[in-house]
Symmetry: C2
Subunit: 448 residues, 2 copies
């Protein structure tokens, strides 16, 4: 049977683009054997034709003009690894309108404009594939879109951003501050010069929106995602959570309840036994909870040259072998949004205070928690030269109640308390009461 | 677009068969929406028509005769969840020859006869699907057969048997003996009356063979799998490994090296950071190591009614939506087998001795290890009323050398030592030398 020639237009030759280009060369035999196709990258859009790239690429194939790729009617498939919204969105739209398939790694674009782009692809009877937009090489989009068919996914829980996961892992390992570890991450190339998207949870929110849309045939409004980044966490929080038997991870979570969606990207305390608790460094992971199979967890590298290139190239091979059977996402369902502030749960509450305030603050807090009908399951503290970092595990209250009791304690203490409130996953034993006598403080207080 | 009627013949109505039957009913709308097919189970092969099953099933659909299903030409797809080799193999062959698709959960059959059955399916232009034969609901076969196309898998590492994983987790948690935990597992229904297949690694070996065949287009001879079960492990081993910073798991491992395959199902020590180290209880997990994506780990329930039913039913939906594009496995390649006895590595060595023998045995062992060019990185011991369980981490030696030095130490000690030798994954720091002075013994010895 004859080989089929497939011509690819590559938009972008940065980290991921370079990985795609190199892999298409290196694994060409494997791709030919398994797909019957010879894939050639015929033209590449770059910003700098002279840039030193560290690998051989024919300069004649490099162009600064998107039009040079878009006008080439011999191109079958475009791979977009530039990122950003403009002019990337317009380039992709033009490609789809000209009835060519597009493979993208662009999470922000798919999160904000994916529904429209997918509709445009369908109208033009071509495919828009985007495995590489979420969790690097981990085929979670393939799981939701291609594999799970009889299963109904009712919850998604994931570590979706490698930069913030690396930072939290290092803070936990070394006890260093967020700022210190961020600077080290930037020096290593694990964090951007402007790290906001990664550390404030925007990147993870885009990815959560994409997964949620796939799982529920929905069209999520990013603004409804309860988003809290990691920049307010301190080395003390990581250490105290660990003492309590928990890891702190930036978790993207989507759950359907009573026909409405609750979506959040926030740091959570995960108990040691949680499948995501030990997913460290730049690894990502997603747990899908479905009605027949139960919990399925996938772990892998969430970013980087070759993991992300893998996702792009496996989208390509799927296009070459399964084109007619690729299920078209249907991101149409307007779903009600559900706020979780009034849900009873377990929370980690922490603040920094002067050491003399330890006992009065503990007494005030325990009193407020009891008045709210909850219970304090644990108290730990860590002192440095000047301040005391105090942390409690509180059960049987809502987040709204926790926020209120922080205000009440601030008033009692006549001191503004800048409190950190995090969800705790799993059960906190209701019978474990923390003793508020002086001996309790002496037992718990530790010195750094 | 009209619905398509699909008629299924179900062979078996035990745990998994019941799960398949119930799920096809419960999720019928989802299946119809996503596949355009109405799936009906028209006839079910059982061993006992009167048996109380705990769910409603039309008695008219139950039959004791395989022929009643096989002769029914209106059946499109057979689902085999009986297990065993005979007469299951003959039933499946007859179904394939009559040009009907077969979906099976039968690991032993696929491991021993899969190549022949797949060839028969191909000759008859139908499909034989077997996701449910390995790791329950975890779609590892789909990963290897359906998703990873440009990637070349070069290593497989997995916890493939839930019974033995449950037993090891319980031994680790409680300190109880293997026999005690096995009895509890049997009472809970997690282990069979005859547990041999699970605890001696046969079940995991079948599953490893299937995954290996898929990853390498090979046809593995089960007899070449280096197989060692968990029945020789003691509560002391689990405890001492944990002290050393390791979990003990029954690991199925396939790796290609120098064009030859090395295959094993054996208990390994996994360092705490290993992705499989904390996969506990009845959970299974597989790490695939591929050249583009790197390490991909999948974790889920490896057995049970609904997880396994999920795998069967997702094979069914794939058949209904992707029939022409399902890649046919090619289990043809005769690969050389490679023995690892001469590979340098790190090992856990343990035996039980009388307490007075502690020092002489330690000195003898350290001497033998040094003579073999290796080093002792760690020593731990656990005493009970009568004996001392001694355990070492040894690096820079081969397994053949470890076995020889055990013989030599036995001679020196004039006592037969029944030694346990396990691979240790990861590096053992070569610089960490254990001191063999008396103080070393006092530091390390612990009393149960």
């Amino acid at each position: 049977m004859g080989k089929k020639q497939v011509r690819v237009g590559l938009l972008g030759l940065g980290t991921v683009g370079g990985g795609v280009y190199k892999t298409l060369l290196k694994n060409r035999e494997t791709i030919l054997t398994r797909t019957g196709c010879e894939v050639e990258v015929v033209n590449i859009l770059v910003r700098d034709r002279e840039k030193e790239r560290g690998f051989d690429v024919d300069a004649k194939r490099l162009t600064l003009e998107p039009e040079n790729l878009l006008k080439d009617e011999t191109i079958d498939i475009y791979i977009e690894v530039i990122g950003g919204i403009h002019p990337t969105k317009e380039i992709i739209e033009q490609a789809l309108r000209s009835k060519r398939h597009v493979i993208t790694a662009n999470k922000e674009l798919m999160a904000k404009h994916g529904a429209d782009l997918l509709r445009l692809a369908q109208e033009n009877e071509v495919h828009l594939l985007f495995e590489a937009s979420v969790a690097g090489g981990i085929p979670v989009i393939h799981m939701l879109q291609g594999y799970l068919t009889a299963n109904r996914v009712h919850e998604i829980c994931g570590i979706l951003n490698g930069t913030s996961n690396y930072i939290l892992s290092e803070m936990s390992k070394t006890g260093k501050s967020f700022s210190e570890v961020l600077a080290e991450a930037q020096a290593l190339g694990y964090a951007e010069a402007d790290p906001t998207s990664d550390v404030e949870g925007f990147d993870a929110a885009y990815k959560l929106a994409i997964l949620t849309n796939l799982a529920y045939d929905a069209c999520v409004d990013i603004a409804t995602i309860d988003r809290q980044g990691i920049s307010q966490l301190t080395g003390a929080d990581l250490a105290l959570a660990e003492r309590m038997g928990y890891a702190i991870k930036l978790i993207g979570n989507a759950k359907e309840q009573a026909g409405a969606l609750q979506l959040s990207v926030r740091p959570h305390l995960l108990p040691d036994a949680h499948p995501l608790a030990r997913v460290n460094d730049v690894f990502n992971a997603v747990t899908l909870r479905a009605d027949v199979v139960g919990d399925l967890t996938l772990i892998g590298r969430g970013a980087g040259e070759f993991p992300t290139a893998s996702a792009v190239i496996e989208d390509l091979t799927a296009l070459l072998t399964q084109r007619e059977n690729i299920r078209r996402p249907n991101w149409e369902r307007a779903m009600n949004h559900r706020c979780t502030e009034q849900d009873a749960g377990a929370f980690y509450l922490a603040w920094s205070a002067s050491q003399e305030q330890e006992r009065p603050l503990c007494e005030a807090l325990v009193g407020e928690v009891k008045r709210a009908g909850g219970h304090v399951a644990r108290y730990e503290s860590l002192a440095d030269a000047e301040r005391l970092h105090q942390a409690w595990l509180i059960g049987g209250v809502t987040e709204a109640q926790v926020n209120r009791l922080v205000e009440n304690v601030s008033q009692i203490a006549a001191e503004h308390l800048s409190a950190l409130v995090l969800h705790v996953d799993g059960e906190i034993e209701p019978g474990v009461e923390w003793e508020s006598e002086a001996s309790g403080y002496e037992k718990s207080a530790r010195y750094a």
